[in-house]
């Protein structure tokens, strides 16, 4: 059995707990013992990205203390939060050797969910069934550009029985979410989103899949506002069997 720690992220915790449950189900089905450090909250990325380093540091310190007391790979169902924890959290503790050391220990254990399945567990076929659906995959920017996550989720989707995956035109362009960017520059965010959704619709897919619920929340909200029937799912939900519709 492989012991893993689930860092579920604040958005999954509060808005999409079913994604967290799907992550646990899939990991358990593939031989993992999943632990959930119960005092976890938020990695601090929302504050960090808008320049509030003091507040980000407080949140990051809490996260590090909770996770450093555990063992095993820390699985995160978000490329963006994983990127924060891997590429930014340690630098917040420059000048404090003890915390910087702890941050580096934690950061070395962090892995985004889909890349954990493929790169560490060696799974390409998760044994999932999703009959009669056509899906397109949006590679969210931080996971894709900063952690190289793209081929892993696409491979997993390609092996879902009954699911056809179609390429998203201009897939590598941002969806316009960008965290607080989405409410600080709402019209610009919405305009970028609109371009993305037009591309999603052009694929003819009836399912949009990603590895970040943040971008997916923004895109799902936009699709719903457009009156679209395209469903939006985190990859864990797709890999956990037949998506409820």
């Amino acid at each position: 059995m492989v012991k893993v720690q689930l860092f579920v992220t604040c958005l999954v915790d509060s808005f999409f707990p079913e994604v967290g449950e799907a992550v646990v189900d899939v990991l358990e089905r593939h031989g993992c013992t999943v632990e959930f450090p119960f005092d976890q909250t938020c990695c601090g990325q929302p504050a960090f990205n808008v320049g509030y380093h003091d507040q980000a540091r407080e949140m990051a310190q809490h996260t590090i203390e909770v996770l450093d007391a555990t063992e095993g790979t820390i699985v995160v169902p978000s490329g963006s939060c994983a990127d924060m924890m891997i590429n930014h959290t340690p630098e917040l503790f420059d000048g404090n050797d003890e915390l910087r050391g702890a941050a580096e220990r934690v950061s070395a254990r962090v892995k985004e969910f889909s890349s954990f399945l493929v790169d560490e567990l060696g799974i390409t076929d998760a044994g999932a069934v999703c009959a009669g659906r056509t899906a397109t995959y949006h590679p969210s920017c931080h996971g894709f550009r900063n952690l190289g996550i793209r081929v892993q989720p696409e491979t997993l989707l390609d092996h879902v029985s009954g699911l056809e995956r179609v390429d998203l035109p201009d897939a590598e362009t941002c969806c316009g979410f960008g965290g607080l960017f989405s409410v600080e520059l709402p019209e610009v965010s919405a305009s970028i989103m609109s371009t993305k959704l037009t591309n999603v619709e052009a694929t003819g897919a009836n399912l949009l899949v990603g590895v970040d619920v943040s971008c997916l929340m923004h895109l799902a909200g936009g699709l719903r506002r457009r009156g679209s029937t395209i469903e939006v799912k985190h990859i864990a939900e797709v890999l956990n069997g037949e998506p409820a519709s």
Partner: protein, 466 residues
Amino acid sequence: MVPVAFIDRARKGLGSPGVAALNTGSRRMMSHRLTAVEEFPSMDSMRDRAREIRLYSLAHLDELLARFTDEVEAQGGHVFFAADGEEAIGYIRRLAERENVGRIVKSKSMVTEEIHLNDALEAGEFEVVETDLGEFIIQLSGDTPSHIIAPVMHKTRQDVGRLFADKLDVEYTDDPQELNGIARSHLRQIFLDADMGISGCNVAIAESGTVSLVTNEGNGRLTTTAPRVHVAIMGMERIVPTLGDAAVILEVLARSATGQKLSVYTSLITGPRRPEEPDGPDEFHVVILDNGRSRVLGGDTAEILACIRCGACLNVCPVYREAGGHAYGFTYSGPIGAVLVPSLLGLEDWHDLPYASSLCGACLDACPVRIDLPELLLRLRRDAVAQGYPPPGLERVIGWYAGLATRPALWRTALRAAGLGSKVLGRKGWISSLPGKGAAWTDHRDLPRPATRPFHARWKERNGGT
């Protein structure tokens, strides 16, 4: 605190025909770049080399500029160091007066846009004519550039046709070839009558005192050879040590900018006309501009000075493409502008520019010298907060959120409360209208309702605690 202006300017651009034209144009340039990069397997190692050259040059700026100055002077040219725009303008104006200059022609130069040189010279009763087609159109229409290498990206050929018919007394046409021809014949005599030519400088070469200029129109060559006096103006960071180094920069520059192997005209200008040469200016002056660059060099956005002004980061930037170049409010737009402008001019007036990015990172992918633009934007945001210029209202929200996120029991209670409390806001799990700041979300998209049973609660039920 000044009102946040980026969003106000962006609102004017969003969905407008001008920005639609710019969006199409920048996507076309992006795809040209991708093709050029694909065809050139050594591009990645060439980018590494270009980055090394640029960082080396920034680290040795003082000695390189001293060497460059010695070489220019040895060739019979003159070098003037301008601390700011005012000094640069003063020097050029005095020179023009001394040389009895009437008409001045210019080839494209962003640094002259940065210091608003044209306005100052025209106020001094000199006639100034832009000769780059894009800049000529900008000047004729009283506009400002929207892209650092394609200044009229925001205009359609119909716009240009109407402008020419109106200002140049010609028949309306929107045929690009004919429009080119009209500009060409209009400008030809102006070149011949000009007393002074002002050019920019893409790369300056320290070992030989050479100024290099890349254009695709040939106007740069006329500007620098036909008039009696040639003034090249350059940002002080635009220098590299050797001709070989310049060759590397020019190679990645053309591919990244327009997808060309090399621009149509690449001019290397060393000194004024020599006695045995038939063409060229009698006087050659180089104005080296600081205008905030020394300060940037000492700060933690110094890497931005490695920029070679190719515009690739603009073309790939979703914010630039949707909001348009004018949304940035200054000569330099897109990701490079969002970092360079507040770095040069200070955050007090430009603190909203670092926030004009979703931090998607496409700019870093595209940059030929691998400037970590997202990282520099993050540093400027940190500085904006530290200097007291955060986006309005954010401080309270972040503080409140951090307070919850560092108190796990309170966090869990708050999530449950949000789930239960939001029941009143949305039916079927979605909220379509929120008051206050929340409207920034719901004006454009629905919001899922926070879960009544957050993951923490579900985990507890699933595993009986811990």
